[in-house]
Symmetry: C2
C-alpha cells in the first residue's frame, strides 16, 4: 500500500481547498484572508483522518458543527506551503479538484511571501480566489471586495 497515493485518492473525494475572506479592522485593507485545507468524514470512518494528521504532522481534527462529522484541517500558511502543497504536487488528484488546488497553492505561496500586504498582491489574490471558491456557500463574487 502506498500511503501518499491513498491520501491523494481520499482527498480527491472528500477534501476541500478554500480561501475565505472575513472583514477585519485589524488586517491590512480590512480583510482577513484565510486559506484552509480540510477533509471531512463521519465519525465511524474517522481513522483515516487521524492517519493523515499523523503522517503530515500538522493541523488538527475537530467536530464539524454543521453536522455529525469530524474535520481534519490545516490552516497554517507555512504548513500548507511546506507540507500539504508539495504532497499534492507530487501525488496529484485525478479530478478537476486538482485545478482548484493549483489556484489555492498559488494564493498560499503569495501569502507566505507577504504579497497580500501590497495592493497589487491583494488584488491578484482576490482575482485568483474568485475562480477558486465557485462551489462554496459564500460565493466570493457576492462579497464584492474592492480596495
Amino acid at each position: 500500500m502506498d500511503l501518499e497515493s491513498y491520501f491523494s485518492g481520499f482527498v480527491d473525494g472528500e477534501g476541500s481547498f478554500c480561501v475565505s475572506f472575513n472583514k477585519s479592522k485589524r488586517h491590512k485593507f480590512g480583510w482577513d484572508i484565510r486559506p484552509s485545507f480540510s477533509v471531512s468524514q463521519n465519525r465511524e470512518n474517522s481513522l483515516t483522518l487521524e492517519k493523515m494528521r499523523e503522517y503530515w504532522n500538522c493541523g488538527f481534527i475537530r467536530p464539524d458543527s454543521s453536522d455529525n462529522t469530524l474535520k481534519y484541517e490545516v490552516r497554517s500558511v507555512k504548513m500548507l506551503v511546506e507540507i500539504i502543497i508539495p504532497h499534492f504536487e507530487k501525488f496529484p488528484m485525478m479530478s478537476k479538484k486538482q485545478e482548484e488546488f493549483c489556484r489555492f497553492a498559488e494564493i498560499c505561496r503569495m501569502m507566505l511571501d507577504r504579497k497580500h500586504l501590497t495592493k497589487e498582491g491583494f488584488n491578484a489574490i482576490t482575482n485568483i480566489a474568485s475562480k477558486l471558491n465557485l462551489h462554496g456557500k459564500k460565493k466570493f463574487s457576492r462579497l464584492g471586495i474592492k480596495i
Copy 2:
C-alpha cells in the same frame, strides 16, 4: 502515483458496499438478494469514476436519481468476486469501512457458490447482512426476513 492505493483511498471516503433484499416471486425463498459496490461523486469531479471503470473494466456509470451526482456501480456477483473484492483485500481501506467490506465479500462469495439457494446458506447471508447495512436508509432488521 500508485493507482491501486489511490482508488482504495477514494473508495474509503466515497464508496459503499451494500446488499439489498427485494421481495420477488421469481426468486427462491421470495427474495432477490443484490450485492452492489458503488462510488458516488458530483459531476465536476467524475473523472475519477471513469478512471476506476476503465481500470477495473467492469460495472457502469449512471446518474444518481436522488441528487445531481454520478455513480459508478458494479452489481455482477462474478465481477465483484473476481475483480473488486481481490482489489480491496490487496489494498485494504484504513477505516471501519474495511470491516463492512469483509462481510460484503463473504456474502458475494457465498452467492457465487450458489449457497443462497439453500436454506442454510440463505439464513447465513441474512445474518451477515444484518450486520452490514447498519447505516443504510433501509435497515435490514426492519425487513424482518424469515424463511
